[in-house]
Point group: C2
Chain length 588, copies 2
């Protein structure tokens, strides 16, 4: 379990401080993560790795010459927010554009995607690439749905090496795609890990058993088997990977190989396993090129390991072998001298300050009297949401621990606290409802991170966008606002009704609310009956088998448990329904 | 726990195979361990690290240019035998002499000491240096009794860098001594680890507690405390080290620092802790120089960490900063190109082959008829020892698990199996009793390794050395043989009666046996009554508080449990006493 921390809520901040202090010759802390100690050379593509922390040396341990230009660091097992991604990108970019590289998880896809769109809108060409190497997470004909695990290391390495050679952004993206298409990983878990401050592990594996394909956050795998000898495990892993050999793997028999320990499965064990793996690869006519045996993508102190194969061609072999010099990984000799801690960082510092400045678009309009009342209601609603989320935080965490990583309650509290503070500040400045809700949404997404943070942030922004600045909102305004929020969430998250996500509660609420308002019902009545439908729908998610999201691609163990996102949404809607300002008037 | 292995008895061999296969550019496997892929430059001192495995990257992970020339690899948590040390040294040495570097544990001191004496006798100047950095293992006025833990990394690094600069053997030894004198480590444990094939951990720490100074094999520490915040732990470690600041630390405020994770305490946690450590060092006026935060000396998947400070002077700072290129640790840029796998290894191969050839001194003499009968009895005795040790192996392991690492039964079985096979072979060649017992002793020490392996090997050799080759041994021969065996054991191991070691059973046996024989008693009667005394003495070790040995410097938790070494000796003596050849005749 994780034992060393001060305040669990500060774990990642404290970790970044210590990491940067330990490696001044390689990295420099910036808001949202780290960048190289020496600025990215002018014109070079800035390659940024990122994701939740808890996976060191992924992702920040591979920042330095020959590898990444920076890393966006989220809370443990939680996607960093788009604001953090933007901040690190603006500190690292040097005129060649930005490529975000991360594993294929809903929260990361959303937040890095948002950041890339915002950067591109600001004139910085930015793209995303999500690694999909985990063959256990979806069948071979649905590779795009696969998760990213330790094979990301190879994708990050080759793409970074291409950028270091001076390749333009489209070429670096091509190398990432090409490497990913030729990379396959299969992992096993022997036991789970515990989050900082957590009392119990995220998941467990029975003694003497292994979870084949169990994900690095405890996502369900393809089967549970008896734990045999190291030779038997080597056969399982090699056979599984060869059966999923990429169609375009070419004729070559040369492979990059990563035998990765997840944290508590130690080096000597990995070497015992490696001895068997290398014999089986030889039997299959495959030659390992610069294999890596060790801890490259961990999962706190989870027990288990994974084997990655990347079928190389000449270009990929050159890039895989290219020198690199980072805190956790070094290869070959680099000509660039190690950087001091006094590198010229003026330009980058300026970019960080720019990123830190709140984005003020659409916020300047002052609210008229009636609109100011609507903004007041929004602040009251957020206050009610805060109260109920703090009250239910532990229960929400327990629901989330069944199929996810148990941090839903904590994440919602972080988000709503930040959102309320931002909304109160905007309201005190007499901004319009749209500006108040945009501020709240941005703050929620930035502070909470993760999937739910991105979704709640997007929903609040969409909600506010259609509200008038000069009058009290009417029935049609409110109906539109609800439907816009639903559209924002489904288009960002990709979930549909029945996927066991918060959409299962949001969709019936928004459609019922809009329908009844448009049928002429009073606002309070329409809201109350729509909320009742959302509550019922949230409870009904207990019967569903989840299909989407980081922790859930093949899950069925959460059947019988309501979805935590739908449950927290229903709780917030109910708390708002009980506000005097909502029930007692037609103002909202 | 340790889960990946084939046959637990083959764990280390399999590990070495996989390790060498993963790092052909750095290392090459030789009998007993590994050496650099490229031969040690002519005239350079060969620096060899070593000890039991289970501590990766200690000790074999730091072999390569700028660091060690080779590493002697024992079984998990078991000192390698002198034969293994000699084999690796002969493969690595290049005319500049040999320095063995290891932690201060009884088995390592014995086996490396023996190897160094044998090498020196063969014309290869060889020395030993045992690291004593663990301040929790003995008070400041008894630093020579302290154990070696993660501070060994700094000692190995500076001594290796001095050798790489071309320093002669006496200078390299001086650097090791000087670094060790300025190096202090304090560690904590949160939970124990499990040996390959083991069912239960070697030790446990209650949830929410920490063992301050608990050793890396579970050796008792100085106290058990509540586990607080990372900042509190940082304060405990830094304060403890500063209170034990070496007297000759000089005025300088520059320190090499190692914050070491033991296996299951992961990187993010270590960085959180490092953030607090670095502030406290700054408060104390100390500047960390190229700090290392990570896993450098592990203990399988033990949970815990340690902090090491080495007060630097100009020479030590230069050596600490010097470049190195090894499988697990790289620093700076080396001009030497990485070696291929086809390096010219003819000279080294020859040395290995020489080391593998059995040492034939004193073995050539053929036994006469009566002496052949004595050799036959020796073989019968070893067979009886084998039967009883295999029968009792599990019980001996349980005794050893109380204060040691639970492998006594397994180690004795490995030793006696090898000894019996060697003795049978020597007897089939009609060699004299001395040669038969020397072969048995050498095989026991080489196969079993560890403390007990070295002691039983020495005892069998000493026993045989005084037996005549041309006649049946008489009473005086047997009395001398028993006393010689006792002397060999006490001079090699340094234990006295009352230290809770096998000497507690061996001394009463040998003295009673010799006294009764010299008083004219029949051999069988003298043997039987001496054996009875040994049995009683072995049982009485339950009341003793151990004072010696790797796992026991401050132990008191084994009070109430007999010493496993004394118990196994008494069992063997009893089994031999029950042999018809022993009881039925005076031949032995």
């Amino acid at each position: 379990m994780t034992r060393l921390f001060n305040d669990p809520a500060r774990f990642t901040d404290d970790m970044i401080t210590g990491f940067a202090a330990a490696h001044p010759e390689h990295v420099r802390a910036v808001p949202g993560g780290v960048v190289r100690a020496r600025p990215t050379p002018a014109g070079k593509v800035a390659v940024l790795t990122g994701g939740g922390s808890g996976h060191y040396p992924a992702f920040c341990g591979v920042v330095g010459p020959g590898f990444a230009d920076g890393s966006v660091i989220g809370d443990v097992f939680t996607s960093p927010s788009a604001a953090r991604a933007r901040s690190v990108a603006e500190a690292a970019e040097a005129g060649g554009g930005v490529l975000f590289l991360f594993g294929n998880y809903a929260g990361d896809v959303m937040n890095f995607g948002l950041a890339a769109r915002q950067l591109t809108g600001d004139g910085i060409p930015a793209h995303c690439f999500a690694v999909t190497d985990d063959i256990a997470s979806a069948p071979a004909d649905q590779t795009a749905r696969r998760r990213g695990i330790a094979g990301g290391f190879v994708v990050f390495k080759t793409a970074s090496a291409a950028a270091e050679e001076g390749a333009p952004l489209e070429d670096v993206i091509r190398v990432a795609e090409h490497t990913n298409a030729r990379t396959r990983t299969l992992g096993v878990a022997f036991d789970g890990c515990t989050l900082p401050g957590g009392e119990t592990p995220l998941f467990t594996v029975p003694e003497g058993r292994l979870g084949l394909g169990l994900g690095i956050h405890g996502e369900p795998g393809v089967s549970e088997d008896a734990l045999g000898t190291a030779e038997e495990l080597a056969r399982t892993l090699v056979t599984g990977l060869l059966a999923d050999r990429p169609v375009d793997a070419g004729d070559g028999g040369r492979v990059a190989v990563v035998l990765n320990g997840l944290g508590a499965t130690k080096y000597e064990e990995l070497y015992v396993l490696w001895g068997a793996v290398v014999r089986l690869l030889d039997d299959a006519g495959l030659t390992p090129v610069r294999p890596e045996v060790g801890e490259l993508v961990t999962s706190l102190d989870m027990a288990g390991c994974s084997l990655t194969l990347t079928w190389l061609d000449d270009e990929l072999e050159r890039l895989w072998r290219a020198p690199a010099d980072t805190p956790a990984f070094r290869r070959g000799a680099l000509t660039e001298p190690p950087a001091g801690t006094t590198a010229d960082t003026t330009a980058a510092d300026t970019a960080v300050r720019n990123a830190e400045a709140p984005r003020r678009r659409d916020r300047a309009a002052a609210a008229s009297g009636a609109a100011a009342e609507a903004a007041e209601v929004a602040v009251h609603a957020l206050r009610a949401a805060r109260d109920v989320l703090h009250r239910d935080a532990e229960a929400l965490g327990r629901l989330d621990a069944v199929a996810g990583d148990g941090d839903h309650g904590r994440g919602m509290c972080k988000g709503v606290d930040a959102a309320l503070a931002a909304a109160e500040k905007a309201h005190a400045e007499r901004l319009a409802p749209a500006a108040v809700l945009t501020a709240a949404g941005d703050a929620w997404a930035a502070e909470a991170g993760g999937t739910s943070g991105a979704l709640w942030g997007a929903a609040l922004r969409a909600l506010g966008a259609v509200l008038p600045a000069d009058r009290a909102p009417g029935r049609e305004d409110l109906a539109s606002a609800a439907m816009e929020a639903l559209t924002a969430v489904t288009s960002l998250g990709g979930a549909e009704v029945g996927d066991k996500t918060l959409v299962d509660a949001l969709a019936p609420f928004a459609t019922a609310f809009a329908m009844r308002l448009r049928a002429g019902a009073p606002v309070a009545e329409a809201y109350a009956s729509a909320t009742a439908e959302a509550r019922t729908a949230a409870e009904n998610t207990a019967t569903l088998r989840p299909r989407l999201g980081r922790a859930r691609p093949l899950a069925d163990r959460s059947v019988g448990t309501p979805d935590p996102g739908a449950t927290s949404l229903a709780a917030v809607l109910t708390a708002v329904a009980n506000l005097p300002t909502t029930t007692g008037s037609d103002a909202v």
